[in-house]
């Protein structure tokens, strides 16, 4: 798109909410119609800005949940004491305007050209940018083998559950539930620790490229665990989410 590739131009623009879809009781995906969107890479995020009638403004960052080429979408988790997330997950509806800027990020991004089997490790809403990567992998027809280890509290908290269960060729998904497992659960239980990582992740010998995303404490433990398995630190990319659910 001519005129959008100017370096340093990160301007706010007004998008329109196309659809909203509840992923879980607390999590909603918002698909946006962004007229001046320059395209994005898998793993990038965008900033959202809300303005109240009295002029009060709040800004938050959200990972882009969709792959390059798909309509821009964000997936937002509602925090009980949040200010923006309750609005985005409960009030915002199709036809509303949303001010945003992006895409942002050049470190926590994945392309099919990046080499190595892909190792994705997600905690809670950390799944969002990794899901964009998996969708990008699928849409691009990449044959790169991928593994996802996804930690959630309970089964109803698993975001994109049916989509993740439908991945077949070359994508192995392991879910671990840390707080409660349903009867007959055949996935994993308990927090991501050295033992689970050693059982589920690509061995270091195959030179995997890892992306770890979620709350800070999750990311630090999981990233340290991968380094403990022999992953070189520069092959373990991390993105920490704050208590605000996004950043």
């Amino acid at each position: 798109m001519a005129g959008t590739a100017l370096r340093g131009r990160l301007t706010w623009q007004i998008a329109m909410v196309d659809t909203v879809t509840d992923e879980t009781a607390r999590v909603r995906t918002i698909v946006l119609d962004v007229p001046q969107w320059p395209g994005h890479r898998a793993g990038q995020h965008l900033d959202v800005r809300l303005t109240a009638e009295d002029g009060y403004r709040a800004e938050r960052s959200y990972s882009i949940a969709s792959a390059p080429g798909e309509p821009v979408a964000i997936t937002v988790e509602r925090l009980d004491d949040g200010e923006v997330s309750p609005y985005l997950t409960q009030e915002l509806r199709a036809g509303d305007e949303l001010e945003l800027r992006g895409p942002i990020g050049g470190y926590f991004v994945w392309e099919p050209e990046d080499d190595g089997p892909l190792m994705l490790v997600a905690g809670g809403s950390g799944i969002v940018p990794l899901r964009a990567m998996l969708r990008h992998r699928q849409r691009s027809g990449s044959a790169i083998p991928a593994r996802l280890l996804y930690s959630s509290r309970t089964l109803p908290d698993v975001i994109y559950q049916s989509e993740l269960s439908r991945y077949a060729d070359g994508v192995e998904v392991t879910c671990t539930l840390t707080r409660q497992q349903p009867p007959g659960w055949t996935g994993r239980a308990g927090r991501v620790d050295a033992k689970l990582l050693s059982e589920v992740c690509w061995p270091a010998a195959v030179s995997p490229l890892a992306y770890v995303c979620g709350p800070t404490s999750f990311v630090e433990a999981a990233a340290a665990g991968l380094v403990g398995l022999g992953y070189p630190p520069h092959r373990v990319k991390t993105e920490r989410f704050g208590a605000t659910g996004g950043r």
Partner: protein, 200 residues
């Protein structure tokens, strides 16, 4: 010109009685943790509090500090990031008690904390029963993430002046900007005059 986001409003709890909350603040039920760095973890056996810049530097170990007369304080606190918390309960040693043991003619103080944080205050704002070195919050020992083992408590000013993990008070003849003041926050910080930034 940003469009108004239909139906969006700032979070707020029901208003306290008029005049209770300074301009631009909202009342919160939590106790947000704001930090510019990792939480220091000084062991009590290594902890000291000092007053320097007066006649003779004076220093207290944790035992000596806790042997001083302490007070219970209930105060409203106001953060420059716009939250206020009402009726917070603290336990601390009045800075009057500490300064009584130091000879000085200083007009100002610079508080120094573990981790390198500093903040400046006029001496008259940490005396006359207006400031404490607080070691207890809400009936419990002050938690590290809220500034424990001890922090400055100066509730009549914006809460960035209530330096967490405080270790010393340096007495000065002239006012000297501390960490945030150097970057443009107000040298004094009266929430009732909304003195958030230099020039306010």
């Amino acid at each position: 010109m940003s469009p108004v986001s239909r139906g969006f409003r700032r979070r707020r709890l029901p208003d306290a009685e008029p005049g209770r909350v300074p301009p631009g603040q909202y009342v919160t039920g939590d106790f947000p943790v704001l930090s510019a760095g990792p939480t220091p973890r000084t062991a009590l056996q290594n902890w000291t509090f000092s007053i320097t810049g007066g006649g003779e530097p004076r220093s207290w170990t944790w035992e000596q500090f806790r042997a001083l007369p302490a007070e219970s304080v209930t105060a409203d606190i106001h953060c420059v990031t716009r939250w206020s918390k009402l009726d917070t309960r603290w336990e601390g040693v009045s800075i009057d008690t500490l300064l009584d043991q130091v000879e000085h003619h200083a007009g100002f103080a610079l508080a120094h904390s573990d981790g390198g944080y500093t903040t400046n205050l006029p001496l008259q704002d940490v005396t006359g029963g207006r400031a404490w070195v607080a070691f207890g919050y809400d009936g419990e020992p002050l938690e590290p993430e809220h500034g424990g083992p001890a922090r400055l408590l100066v509730p009549h000013l914006y809460f960035w002046k209530s330096a967490k993990w405080v270790r010393s008070l340096e007495l000065l003849d002239a006012d000297e900007p501390g960490f945030w003041e150097t970057y443009g926050y107000h040298m004094y910080g009266d929430p009732w005059l909304e003195q958030r930034y230099a020039g306010d």
